[in-house]
């Protein structure tokens, strides 16, 4: 997983968003929030986190995702975990 470059991470995360929210038109961007995605409710939020964990082989803690402001911060968290995994 650690060999993924930024573009590959973004592409894989986009696929996960599209699958989770059943919307092939989704293009993720740094400022995106749940308010920008119709199907982003509490249950799909759980589904999203589970899918990202599976898709990238990482695990998140409540304290890590509890205060994320947008997709950009989520991406930064994800990239940090992938880098730490070496």
């Amino acid at each position: 997983m650690s060999t993924l470059d930024d573009a590959a991470i973004r592409a894989r995360l986009t696929d996960i968003f599209r699958d989770t929210f059943d919307d092939d038109s989704i293009e993720i961007h740094e400022a995106m929030t749940a308010a920008d995605v119709d199907e982003w409710d509490s249950l799909n939020h759980i589904n999203l986190i589970l899918a990202v964990e599976r898709g990238f082989g990482v695990r998140f803690k409540t304290s890590e995702i509890g205060n994320l402001a947008n997709v950009g911060e989520f991406l930064a968290l994800l990239k940090g975990k992938l880098a730490a995994a070496g």
Binding site: I46, N47, L50, R59, F60, T62
Partner: protein, 130 residues
């Protein structure tokens, strides 16, 4: 709760279970209630509703699996072979993912028909921990 945790339980498709499901579902398709009809279709006797296995899964997750209070969030079931009245079905479950961040657990289930010696269904269950 941890990844790799396993648990099992065996259920029987008893007449009581079958009849209760008939009432609950209202599904009286001849395949499920008429032995002669089922035999004409190549089955040895009437075929139990596949969703009865879903009822067993519901009990297993909600009442048996050592996860405490849970809320079923998704259930993806693949039926593999028919079950018949009085068949015993064993559920073998394994925790495949624990998402601490969102309080959710994913389990992989194999439902083995012990009476027929074959897999009856496989399922993936996602539950929220409360």
């Amino acid at each position: 709760m941890r990844e790799g945790l396993e648990a099992s339980r065996t259920y029987t498709i008893s007449p009581e279970v079958y009849e209760a499901f008939l009432v609950a579902s209202g599904d009286v398709n001849p395949l499920h209630v008429d032995d002669e009809h089922a035999r004409r279709l190549g089955f040895p006797e009437k075929v139990m509703h596949g969703a009865i296995l879903g009822c067993f899964i519901s009990h297993f997750v909600g009442m048996h699996f050592p996860a405490g209070a849970v809320v079923l969030q998704s259930l993806d079931t693949q039926l593999k072979s028919p079950c018949h009245l009085h068949d015993q079905v064993r559920i073998d479950a394994r925790v495949t993912q624990v998402a601490e961040a969102v309080g959710a657990v994913v389990m992989s289930l194999v439902l083995t028909n012990e009476t027929r010696g074959r897999v009856a269904a496989k399922a993936r269950v996602q539950v929220g921990l409360r």
